[in-house]
């Protein structure tokens, strides 16, 4: 055993980048709501970018370490303290057996990602360690953590080379109003011209009923052309469904694989970093871009991950020269 859960927090689950390959059988992808923060936490610790982490929502857990290791904390600021001392975010932090990690309260964003050098020892189910709570699969017994649970590191590295230099600037910065870039379609033609204009000019407020399945928005009603039902088709992360009531729902990590509401547009993958950090009361606006722009942004992200990995490994590279 490596970690004892003293208090679980509202919703703390094991997540990696998701369960791909089974959507045609109706199995949702799940995975991190903010995949960028998950990747950065892992890269800081020299893990594979998609290693399983803890996704911590709003109110953090109390975790007692029973084994030394390095950890990294990214994403929203939940006020983490280790034995009472603030834990710096976006850098490798040593934890010793007996130390307790707690979270004092939400300061920014909605979700923090807690990665462990060498990852977590939970079984992969259908190729992924992500928790999908509805079907009770993946992660820790298919559910959120509870007090008394005991987690194990998979391959802890209590000695991490040049650990004190493995740090990045704060990457997640909260915004007064989040601009989410979207690509139109596939069913933008199910809406009136006025409806499409509403969608990309109004500011929407995130509803408190949002969860890992979808981010519900409140604000101006988007007008359909004729009816809000389509014959079901596939749904991707970020797809913006508009049911009959006219209020958009951004489909998130635990989305169903197919659905029968028209999708006016879809948030681009480079902006999932914000989608995963939205909480009740946040303001969002949709900004249409072309699919080329979306894919360029995504390529820049991938370049950035490669660049920071090289940067963090700089000392080791020098040593080998």
């Amino acid at each position: 055993m490596s970690i004892r859960v003293l208090q679980p927090g509202i919703q703390t689950t094991v997540q990696d980048l998701g369960r791909f390959g089974y959507q045609q059988y109706g199995v949702p992808v799940a995975g991190a709501m903010d995949p960028r923060s998950l990747k950065l936490a892992n890269i800081i610790l020299d893990n594979e970018p998609g290693e399983a982490t803890l996704e911590i929502t709003v109110t953090g857990p109390q975790l007692e370490f029973t084994e030394a290791n390095y950890i990294a904390l990214t994403g929203g600021d939940l006020g983490a303290v280790l034995d009472g001392r603030p834990v710096p975010r976006y850098e490798a932090v040593k934890v010793e057996a007996g130390q307790v990690l707690r979270f004092l309260g939400l300061r920014s964003g909605c979700r923090a990602y807690l990665a462990f050098a060498g990852g977590l020892d939970v079984p992969a189910v259908m190729g992924s360690r992500s928790t999908y709570m509805k079907a009770k699969i993946g992660g820790y017994e298919g559910r959120r953590l509870e007090a008394g649970d005991e987690l194990r590191f998979r391959a802890p590295r209590p000695e991490l080379a040049f650990a004190e230099r493995r740090k990045l600037g704060i990457d997640f910065v909260p915004q007064k109003e989040y601009s989410l870039r979207v690509v139109w379609g596939p069913q933008d033609d199910h809406f009136t011209e006025a409806g499409r204009r509403t969608f990309c000019s109004e500011v929407y407020t995130v509803s408190a009923e949002s969860d890992r399945m979808g981010c519900r928005l409140e604000g101006a009603v988007i007008e359909h052309q004729s009816g809000a039902d389509i014959i079901s088709d596939g749904i991707a992360m970020g797809a913006v469904q508009v049911p009959a009531a006219g209020l958009p729902i951004i489909m998130a990590a635990d989305r169903q694989t197919t659905g029968g509401y028209p999708k006016i547009a879809a948030v681009i993958s480079a902006d999932f970093r914000y989608l995963g950090q939205l909480k009740g009361g946040d303001k969002v606006r949709f900004v249409p871009v072309t699919v080329e722009q979306a894919q360029n942004s995504r390529k820049l992200d991938e370049q950035y991950y490669r660049m920071i990995r090289a940067f963090l490994d700089r000392d080791r590279a020098m040593e080998y020269n």
């Binding site: 791909f20 390959g21 089974y22 959507q23 045609q24 059988y25 109706g26 199995v27 949702p28 189910v125 259908m126 509805k134 079907a135 699969i137 979207v182 690509v183 379609g185 596939p186 014959i231 079901s232 088709d233 596939g234 749904i235 991707a236 992360m237 970020g238 797809a239 169903q256 694989t257 197919t258 659905g259 999708k263 879809a266 948030v267 681009i268 993958s269 480079a270 699919v291 080329e292 979306a294 894919q295 995504r298 390529k299 991938e302």
Partner: protein
């Protein structure tokens, strides 16, 4: 859809012809084995292609997909598999069988005979892991949903909603009229393959007795129970 998925549409209706077109396209695309394609999700009328934009651009994918459309006539569809699914009808396993019979003006035996005589096309899976949307049920045994959905329906329950029929693969809430239960595990995350039905297959139910149900259930729980299938004869 965004920069990570693309949906190819084949029609705007639920029909076997559209479903066949979706299946042919899926098979052609699987054979093409394009780098960067993550997975394919067939539905009643479309195929969603999830892809990795870091490997495959939208335009490159679109070009390949359009080129595939031209060669579609050459794709020979393999004959559909028919999954044979044992069902214990009525009683505790199917508390709504009496309602469905009364609603249809038939005896319970006739409802069972009609329900278990057709081969139902699996159009798609969705809703929950392993939930198959089946087509082709006789309108004679159609029945409205419950006005108040049940909070928990046990896995394996076989139900009717309108002219649809289906099997609940996991315990879930639901409003379908339950006419029976199968001991087969439609979904088991720790089995390979985890999910029995596949879009394009057919499902045929056959009635079993309580004793047969218990025996199959024991085998299913021990993991020694393989689903019986046969190739469908084209009609």
């Amino acid at each position: 859809m965004g920069d990570t998925a693309l949906t190819v549409e084949f029609g705007d209706e639920i029909s076997e012809a559209v479903s066949r077109a979706v299946r042919a396209y899926k098979i052609a695309l699987e054979r093409a084995d394009l780098p960067g394609v993550v997975e394919l999700v067939p539905t009643y009328r479309s195929l969603t292609v999830h892809y990795d934009p870091a490997v495959l651009s939208y335009h490159a994918l679109r070009e390949r997909l359009e080129a595939l459309t031209d060669g579609l006539g050459d794709v020979e569809l393999p004959p559909g598999r028919v999954l044979e699914i044992p069902v214990l009808y009525g009683g505790e396993a199917g508390p709504d069988l009496a309602f469905v019979a009364e609603h249809a003006g038939l005896s319970e035996e006739e409802v069972v005979r009609i329900h278990s005589s057709a081969e139902y096309l699996i159009y798609m899976l969705g809703f929950t892991p392993g939930f198959a949307y089946l087509g082709g049920m006789s309108e004679r045994i159609a029945a409205p949903r419950l006005t108040q959905p049940r909070v928990r329906i046990p896995a394996g329950s076989v139900g009717i909603a309108g002219t649809q029929t289906g099997v609940y693969p996991i315990d879930s809430p639901g409003g379908w009229r339950l006419i029976g239960r199968t001991p087969m595990k439609m979904y088991d995350p720790h089995r390979e393959p985890p999910i029995l039905p596949e879009a394009g297959d057919y499902m045929k139910f056959y009635p079993v007795t309580q004793a047969e149900y218990d025996a199959i259930l024991r085998d299913a729980e021990a993991g020694t129970c393989a689903v019986k299938t046969h190739a469908r004869e084209e009609v």
